[in-house]
Amino acid sequence: MRYVVGYSANARGRDAVNLAIALARRQNASLELVLVVPDDSPYNVVHPPAAGYQSILTDQAKLWLAEALTLIPVDVPAQTHVRKGESEASVLIAAAEEFGAGLLVIGAGSRGLFKRFTIGPVASALLHAATVPVALAPQGYGRTDPITRLTCGIGLREGAQDVLDVAAAAAGRRKLPLRLVSLVALDGGGAPEAAKAPREHADERLAAAVKDRVFHGVPVELAVAQGRSIEDAVDHLAWEDSEVLLIGSSRLARDNSLFLGSTANRILRSLPVPMIVVPRSYKSVAQRHGSIQSEEVNQ
């Protein structure tokens, strides 16, 4: 398994590298660090012409990547790449496709003072167009130890099964305990009775989701989180430092690409742990390989 890491030589890039290491260690993945340098548009008229800036920039990019390699422990194999393009997001997506990467890791934080996730423009663009799962490292993510639990957000709508498939496969592959969470927002009111109905509905939804499903022998825990808002519900849930939240992209997304729905967006804003967003109808590399292998066995 290869992960593409969108690297930049700042705190955001380091967050991404740390998360990539933590995820890679669990399943011996290798990292492809990609640093995107902007391509000069000829219409961005520079006068007097300064043609050689790109070479200085490329040299600097190689230096930055060399520094980045020193951040990566010896047990995680890593390679670096300098790529040019007008849009950082599209270059990263192209790189992920070229390497057959199973995951695209980026640092999501920018200068959000109070919120852990304030989405930068690149992260935002990726979340609307990526064709592979995107892992977002929150600001200041410093852990590089392997992750210990996978939490999967189960939504109300069609497509929830897809993300559960991916979560089950990912947890099975990494031998990670899996927690399935349904988030319930109770707008206004506050009467305990009012909370009952949605809560019960959420319980039913979780029960339905896990029914008839094989979990490859990993422990599964069910949880319902509620709060005045989605953000509040996320805050009420207990999070381990070393876990990762997996959620599906919006039903508005085209097949095999991401589109972060409004709920996911709100989760993102209050989440203390990294989040992986899975494209709609996405089949992980292992799932695809799995089906091929079983066919071979049948023959």
């Binding site: 030589a9 219409y43 006068h47 007097p48 012409p49 070479s55 200085i56 490329t58 390679q79 070229e98």
Partner: protein, 526 residues
């Protein structure tokens, strides 16, 4: 295998990768051109060229000061002024092909003449771009308030621009905004450039037609009949006026050379740049001639009222003339000039920033100038330093001079003559081994840049000498010395002082340990 070796298998190139082009020219190992091939056609290249020249801004800034020097012979000077620009640009193209480098004049002059002249060449380029930044911002601010006045039909708002503290504050805001956009690395799109250029040309054409119809209807301010004499450069009264006019008209063509140096980004690198340069210059000369003739025919060169010779009108001629000529549509002129100067302001920031960065990179300046922003991949320290310098230059000029825009434009003309002159001679010297090895090399690498360089340096010395006169330019002076001289020479002297400080602090560059002096070796196979 060691862990280090395992992890350092950094792959920079793979098949099909859109990686950095490793194409290097002339074996100089200086740098590589990074622009995508095959993206700009002839029309695109012409649009880029015209946009670089920014004719609406250029005319409003330079028409007045040029008329003040040469009167009705403005069309002649505009035509003659193109010749040294053409000659120098040919040399510029040869250097750009042989040594594409972010430092341009700085790097080329260092290669040809060694670190000291190279440093001053870079300094001249940086100064010229810093000065034009402050002028662009000031022109944008003038038209910003003028447009507010036109929008609200309240002429009082236009006078706000004359309020010194407010004017300086607004200009600083414009500079800061442009710096921020440039720092963030936001790019101008193709559509934006097409619209901007089309709009400028349309409005300038409209202005000319409106002015000529006033002349025909007898409603012009000072209807002046066009005579062939206007096109005769030898009829200009004195060499002083001629030199001043030529150094100003270098400014009006500044930016044209960009079309010649576009190669790899064009669809047909063999033909597109040359054709684009030709078409661009035809478009520009036609629009300049029409607008210059229209202005002179409508307003005359008198020094009262709307006359193009009136010192009050020099700073920004269209700010004064657009209303009487275009009537209610004058707001289009404000919009055209505001948009073109604001766009140029943002893109011009890139140039001094990259030259400063390059000088920092080659250790001709403190290392921090070579810093690149990790998030935006743009020169960080150098961009901000350029903005601070442009702001400081504007504050000084504005507080000392009654007519700051006029004086900055004249000083700018001088500065462009200085660094273009050095660059052109660097071309001659760098290619000296090839100079007499064929007609093409003789013309483009020797004769054209030599003639252009000599002309420009003569213009530079002559303008510098004349500008000592306290009556030169707007007539502002400090202690009996013309302000234009103080600005021009002061900036160059500051460069000399900084150069010696740098020599004391970081002698490596000045000892030729970073950029070695060299020249193109004659290679009969090329």
């Amino acid at each position: 295998m060691s862990a280090e070796a395992l992890r350092s298998k950094s792959s920079e190139k793979r098949p099909g990768e859109k990686g950095p082009s490793e194409k290097r020219s002339g074996g100089k190992g200086l740098s590589e051109k990074g622009l995508k091939a095959g993206s700009v056609g002839l029309i695109g290249a012409v649009v880029i060229g015209v946009s670089c020249i920014a004719p609406a801004y250029t005319l409003t800034a330079a028409l007045g000061p040029t008329v003040a020097e040469v009167g009705v012979h403005l069309p002649a000077i505009f035509l003659v002024g193109f010749i040294p620009m053409l000659l120098v640009a040919l040399g510029y193209r040869e250097l750009n092909n042989a040594m594409p480098d972010a430092g341009t004049s700085f790097t080329w002059a260092s290669r040809a003449f060694g670190p000291w002249i190279g440093w001053m060449g870079g300094w001249g380029l940086i100064s010229a771009t810093i000065i034009v930044l402050s002028n662009l911002a000031a022109v944008a601010v003038d038209f910003f308030y003028l447009m507010l006045a036109q929008l609200t039909a309240n002429p009082g708002l236009a006078d706000l621009s004359a309020n010194l503290p407010l004017n300086i504050a607004t200009t600083l805001v414009f500079i800061a905004l442009a710096c921020w956009i440039s720092y963030r690395g936001m790019e101008t799109t193709k559509t934006f450039q097409y619209v901007l250029v089309a709009f400028q040309l349309l409005v300038l054409g409209w202005f000319a037609v409106a002015a000529f119809s006033h002349v025909a209807n007898g409603t012009a301010f000072d209807a002046t009949a066009i005579t062939p004499d206007w096109f005769n450069p030898f009829a200009v009264g004195s060499f002083t006026a001629f030199a001043a006019g030529v150094s100003l008209s270098i400014f009006i063509y500044w930016g044209w050379d960009v079309t010649l140096t576009m190669n790899e980004e064009t669809k047909n690198p063999e033909k597109t740049p040359g054709r684009a340069a030709t078409v661009t210059v035809v478009v520009i000369v036609v629009i300049y001639m029409i607008v210059a003739l229209a202005t002179l025919a409508f307003a005359g060169v008198g020094d009262t009222g709307l006359g193009a010779g009136n010192p009050d009108n020099q700073a920004s001629i269209f700010a004064v003339l657009a209303g009487p000529v275009m009537g209610p549509f004058a707001i289009l002129m404000s919009l055209a000039i505001l948009s073109s100067s604001a766009a140029s302001l943002q893109s011009t920031f890139v140039s001094p920033a990259r030259t400063l960065l390059s000088m920092g990179h080659y250790r001709a300046l403190p290392k921090k100038f070579g810093r690149i922003s990790p998030a935006h991949k743009s020169p960080s320290y150098a961009t901000i330093a350029s903005a601070v310098a442009a702001a400081a230059f504007y504050i000084i000029t504005r507080t000392v001079s009654e007519n700051a825009l006029w004086d900055t434009i004249t000083a700018l003309g001088m500065m462009i003559c200085f660094y273009y002159g050095i660059t052109a001679l660097a071309c001659v010297w760098y290619f000296r081994a090839e100079a007499f090895r064929g007609i093409r090399a003789f013309l483009f690498k020797f004769l054209a840049p030599l003639a252009g360089g000599v002309i420009l340096l003569v213009m530079f010395v002559k303008t510098a000498y004349d500008s000592m006169d306290p009556a030169y330019g707007s007539g502002s002076n400090v202690g009996g010395l013309g302000l234009v001289f103080i600005l021009g020479m002061g900036v160059l002297l500051l460069g000399v002082v900084l150069m010696f400080i740098m020599y004391k602090v970081q002698p490596a560059f000045f000892k030729g340990q970073v950029l070695e002096k060299s020249s193109q070796v004659f290679d009969p196979d090329v």
